[in-house]
Symmetry: C2
Subunit: 499 residues, 2 copies
Amino acid sequence: MNDPYGRLKARFNRIGALGEASAILGWDASAMMPEGGAASRGEQLAVLAGLSHELLTAPAVADDLAAAESQGTAEGDFWDEQNLQLMRRAFRRASALPTELVEAATRANSACEKVWRHARATSDFALVRPLLEEVIRLAREEAAALSEATGLSPYDALMDGYQRGITAGDVEPVFAAYEHFLADALPRAEAIQASRPAALPLPGPFPVEIQRALCRRLSERIGLDYEHARLDESAHPFSGGTPADARITTRYDERNVGQALMGVAHETGHALYERGLPEAWARQPVGEAAGMAAHESQSLIVEMQACRSDSFLRWLGPELHASFGGAAEPYDGANLARLWRHVERSFIRVEADEMTYPAHVILRFRLERALIAGDLRVADLPGAWNEGFHRLLGITPPDDARGCLQDIHWYDGGFGYFPSYTLGAMAAAQLMAAARLAVPGLDEALGRGEFTPLIGWLRSAVHSHGASLGFQELLRRATGKPLDPEDFQAHLRRRYLGG
Amino acid sequence: MNDPYGRLKARFNRIGALGEASAILGWDASAMMPEGGAASRGEQLAVLAGLSHELLTAPAVADDLAAAESQGTAEGDFWDEQNLQLMRRAFRRASALPTELVEAATRANSACEKVWRHARATSDFALVRPLLEEVIRLAREEAAALSEATGLSPYDALMDGYQRGITAGDVEPVFAAYEHFLADALPRAEAIQASRPAALPLPGPFPVEIQRALCRRLSERIGLDYEHARLDESAHPFSGGTPADARITTRYDERNVGQALMGVAHETGHALYERGLPEAWARQPVGEAAGMAAHESQSLIVEMQACRSDSFLRWLGPELHASFGGAAEPYDGANLARLWRHVERSFIRVEADEMTYPAHVILRFRLERALIAGDLRVADLPGAWNEGFHRLLGITPPDDARGCLQDIHWYDGGFGYFPSYTLGAMAAAQLMAAARLAVPGLDEALGRGEFTPLIGWLRSAVHSHGASLGFQELLRRATGKPLDPEDFQAHLRRRYLGG
């Protein structure tokens, strides 16, 4: 049977199934696995990754790609065409990396990540420095190989692995403009905040059982269908699993109900994106999400745009009060907003508010770009971090644990990912503005605790496109323009600067 | 590098890792997965099975096996030699089956199993009959192909897949002798039972939370280490996972604490076998368990021999009483024995006591052997079942739901497995007798709730051998003789006939 594209689809279905299996095993490792299973789990995941890489880079793939590209897919269907292009892209990227390099990097990343845990706990950068140097040496080799294969710069080639089609050149002016905006907006937001009454703390404690039930109800209300999903606990909340079987996690703190609730809102946004991907293209490249910035836009539109909105917090307050009792005043929507939208210069990215968060990302973007370019030595990283942090936010980390040691990404070999967080936040604001125009009564619905108008719009404007559109094209179709950071700034002005 | 055996070990490590991944995904499907994940999970498992089959039957395997066999392994090490033989065996069996046949059987089994669920619920054999006919047609094709490759008879070739080295010819006289024993022993056991005071029911209800904690404590006491294990719930209790990461399940019934406790004892026995396999041979054929009969011997020695012994029940009674309160008398060890060692002719295998259980197995063994030989038509199965059941136990199933529809095995394409249950029960009695001789004070230890003497002996006599010894050789080394059904009968005489 001479059907090269059909053969490729069958092959990518297998690759996709290996990816799904790995996703479930990864979820299990974080949410279920006893500690003693770690070594064998590592071996299982390494074997699945190796087999996937072999399937992707087999000589037959090159032949089938060339034949399918010259034949064209059946009737030139748009989805098939995009699928074939994404197959070519996956093949090109995977073939660019020699197996020995991938294996050396996997080993180096794993060794570095282990030592990093101790280094962070003791704020001892010197401990992990030589291992990070090796990780970066190999990441630079990978970047060079990917650069050669893609024609992108080495750092862009890494970024492209997380968010196709976005380069440092696209990001830098956006980030520079934000830096400029923040220098003015942050002191003003702080002054406005200081002039208002202090937030009343929620009384607490918040029994975990009640939080768990609330989180489940919130995620169901947002739109997660538990015939195809689970909510569990893990040290670091995440969204994993597969489109048909979404697995989200959170963690519960008896003193802080906002953390679990807003965390679950965030992960539900991710999970709904996966659930809304086109089922007919399951396990095909074009059936995947459009990239990590697109993914983050979906978690942030649910968490930051919808669930932290005035409308929704006004609805949520009485619900929480009914669950936990005590005085009613702290559960007033305006008080919840003061509590859960508090702007503050702080050292830890994952705890940052939405206005200062981009500063954390901008710093990392510039530093990792310099590390990959060879313009920054690892030995100079702590100093460069602290200096850059001070320039952006006016405070200096008291130690490296609260500085360059705080995030796992680099120590696990992840370079080029950080910009996705802020691109996602910006895209979320832009999509929300478009949704408000397209769907009358969207905020009123949120004020009744109803997400159907918002999620219905996202289903059709974002989720259902899979990876058939790139990040910019997705935004262009959904909002009439490519990424426009102005929408995010307008959102922050409305929320924090009184319009 | 010309190291054919080294290449084979690397290849079988990958095959083993795929098996481990499938085991965790299988556990997840039964214990965790939301229902909506079923279809994609099926695809994931099919892809892993397909890749495993390809790795096992690749042309390079034949070359490497031939080269390794002619070179010999390093210094003729016993374990390496056995490993190589088991590689050859796995290759021979896998290569015997054409891919199309395996795929057709997988589809037919899956289709039949789905319909069987309805058929059993409505006791409607006619509904599933045509699908079972197709399943058996393909199973006979597989058996014929395996027979050709192994030189065994078709049914023996299927049995060999579950318990290497055991044939129907070995089993038939053992089962015939048991049938003879039972005809005399069962009425006597019933008469003795009837002459004794009736068992006092345990008061109950037994809150699930308390049962859960008790089950965990019992399994820990037996020897399960939760750094490498989990205990969860599922509709059908099982033991799964991997040697480094054992996953056992049970189900809780508020009216019946014995079911969960004895179920967990059983699954703990399976899990301890996996945990005790030689770690140095993880993911190699020789590092696996010695077969399904050997596996069942390990669950049954823990459940039936140890946990239902007078000594242990005397210890367990006061523990349960302390947990649940109420009157003390029902928790007396002798009363627990009357409750949990009650002999009764009944229709459902999985609920049968240890004396009548083999009759259920003997019936299935004879019927499936005839089905595979082509001597029994599917249309005649219900009648043959009921007739055979009456001959063995003197009662006739009132419907097919309590007759030939009760077990999933055949409807899912599993033929040749049933004998393992009773071979395991017999081996458990034989091993227990040997353990009592080898380890002084073993029963006294059980009477103090201590399993270390028994499990320590099993570690060295059974678990640590992996698959380096066959079932008979394992028994010969551990007990001084191959399978001897007399030990099981002696056990039953002591326990049910007063010696």
